[in-house]
Symmetry: C2
């Protein structure tokens, strides 16, 4: 196989309101960096940390998002109700992820370049954000010790997989996918180093069925100031397994899947995709490296090259999982979630894997999360993992 | 206040396929039991536990639903892919919860009475079911020790709140609501006594936004053979709180809410409704008794009477929470979940409360559970508990 490894050039710049934006260029002449270089954001955005001035002239310092500790579950809940500078809003029908139009003065969108390969920037309205001067301290909500509150520090970034608004991640070239992987790894390393960040999560939401209104191919990267509930739960399970057996849980799962064979969807030199034995979504597949690796930055070049082609093959299969009565494939609405080991703990117990799943049960039919799932967290599956795997295997033949 | 306590008559009967159906009649002449008594189900349903006969004549014993243990999360996942007798399906446009038409031969629906007050019956296609002769034992999936499997024993019941298909739970009389409470308490006691049942969950899903296609006012009752994830989590939190403080966590939460006042929605003699300090849904309210009580059967007659009117007041307020641009109230899609102490543990640590919440953010706008919520279990709230409470308080004035 010819290696699709690109030369990636990373260029960091700053948007008008102070947010960071990074270009990851993989193709001569490094479009966003050179040929149509236009690194300045010409929009009249106020600095996002500048004090907010009320209509009556009163000035208030910015407060970032806050999170509250849910004593019933032990989980932190960020609340997106902070005071921010929000004077500039793009028109409702605009695509803020498209490249700027040549010669346009401003307000084309978030990306001040006339073309780009892959770009990452801080979300303008983040749920998690570190505000300079706001101390990262726990206090009691209005003095109530039972209800801890804390600034929701961290960072939320957007990643655009292509400058072509009609593309999808499944349709990019292996070289471009390789650049996306490079960007995910870069962001994981960079965000892991931020004060207070405990976990970095690269993910993609796709499809109106899960509320995505912007069809430009993009994903998100969240840097959480806590272990997310699923990660905390997996870590607890992995530690109990280590205590009982001396082994890594996710490694044992991969080995068990390879042994069973029946739920294996595809295998490459460095990667294995399988439907987990207790899959709970109507479509669900996990993609794991053969080597024990905590996160994306720990992957070798060979593993990244192989991931680019393997991930594309998997995504392309998923887009033919369902067909309409007329035989047309149904682009799958999905959530693609990279589970990585946390920054500071569980590095030997949690193991990198992608969890890719869909709420679609059939064309036009959704799985709803009603009382059992939403109130009790008690999942009921409408299918079996073996049925999901059989369909994905059939599509690979 | 005049007590709406009805004389409730409970009549147990059996449907044609062997499922149990119970009438809870509160009004003379006890319609379903006497005036239009018709307890026999005339449908040609095969016994649900009779062997399934294939077209080629081969006979197979019934297998009930199975559940698999998810090693990554420690949760059981029932899978609805068992072999059952499913020869009879009502027409797609029928309402199987409506009373039978007078004189109709059969197939009017699930309830063989020409009228009823409140009725409960076993779900025809349950996710949880105990099949006689199937041993409740854990084994490894195809011999794989890492993947425990077990019969998904237990029971799933449907409860109809009214025989009027155009009614809603919010529109029934206090007396009828009292009968519903009586039925919930009865079912909790009865299902708690079944072999293998660890937890009983009474709930209502309402609205097409959460996938409810049948508009007849009804709820469900699940008897799980395991602690649900939310209950297990709350129990862990409550035990840690008890260890640290010597006190009951949910009692302390109620006291803290009464102290803070700002999130209190309504108070009655025996009940308090409040928006929890870390509410995560766009609309969420908890309703708790003032007295420490593990479950619905433990409520006194006075507490049940008071609950009937308080719950109705709360539901009626929720149905005016959102109004359209024209000022019309929007019936709230919601999940109403009764959290009860499990059957065998945590009886002193978990405390009865109703959690009532909605995915609606505004008329026509839903909160979607995308990557952060669905993959990581990490909730981000789009509002604050105080805003939700302020709206509910305003509606009570």
């Amino acid at each position: 196989m010819t290696s699709p490894v690109p030369r990636v050039r990373r260029t960091s710049t700053t948007l008008a309101d102070g947010r960071e934006l990074l270009y990851f260029d993989d193709t001569e002449p490094y479009v966003s960096g050179v040929a149509t270089r236009r690194l300045d954001d010409p929009r009249p955005l106020p600095d996002r940390f500048a004090p907010v001035v009320d209509p009556d002239g009163a000035s208030h310092p910015i407060t970032g998002p806050e999170m509250r500790y849910d004593v019933l579950t032990g989980e932190w809940v960020p609340m997106a109700a902070h005071r921010m500078n929000r004077t500039f809003l793009p028109p409702a029908d605009a695509n803020p992820l498209a490249p700027a139009k040549p010669g346009a003065a401003y307000s084309d969108g978030e990306i001040p370049a006339e073309d780009y390969d892959v770009v990452v920037f801080e979300n303008r309205f983040p749920s998690l954000m570190t505000v300079p001067g706001v101390a990262d301290e726990v206090s009691g909500l209005n003095g109530e010790e039972l209800y801890p509150v804390r600034p929701a520090v961290g960072r939320c970034e957007v990643i655009c997989f292509s400058s072509d608004s009609t593309a999808s991640l499944a349709s990019v070239s292996p070289g471009r996918m390789r650049t996306v992987i490079e960007a995910w790894a870069d962001r994981t390393t960079a965000l892991s180093a931020l004060d207070g960040v405990e976990q970095v999560f690269c993910f993609e939401n796709r499809g109106k069925e899960i509320g995505v209104t912007l069809h430009h191919p993009h994903g998100q990267i969240y840097a959480y100031p806590y272990l997310t509930p699923r990660t905390a739960t997996m870590l607890r399970q992995a530690r109990a397994h280590r205590e009982r057996t001396g082994r890594n849980l996710l490694r044992d799962v991969l080995d068990a899947e390879l042994r069973a064979g029946v739920r294996i969807v595809l295998e490459s030199t460095h990667w294995v995709a399988y439907v987990p034995a207790a899959a709970r979504w109507p479509v669900e597949v996990h993609l794991a490296p053969r080597r024990d690796v905590p996160d994306l930055p720990a992957l070798t070049d060979d593993e990244r090259d192989d991931l680019a082609t393997t991930y594309l093959a998997l995504l392309q299969r998923l887009d033919t999982f369902f067909v309409t009565a007329d035989g047309d494939p149904v682009p799958l609405p999905y959530i693609a979630a990279w589970h990585q080991a946390p920054v500071r703990e569980g590095r030997d117990d949690l193991r990198l894997h992608l969890q890719l799943f869909s709420v679609l049960r059939a064309p036009g039919r959704l799985k709803y999360l009603a009382g059992s799932e939403s109130a009790m967290g008690a999942w009921i599956s409408d299918t079996t993992p073996e049925r999901i795997a059989a369909r994905l295997q059939e599509l690979g033949r």
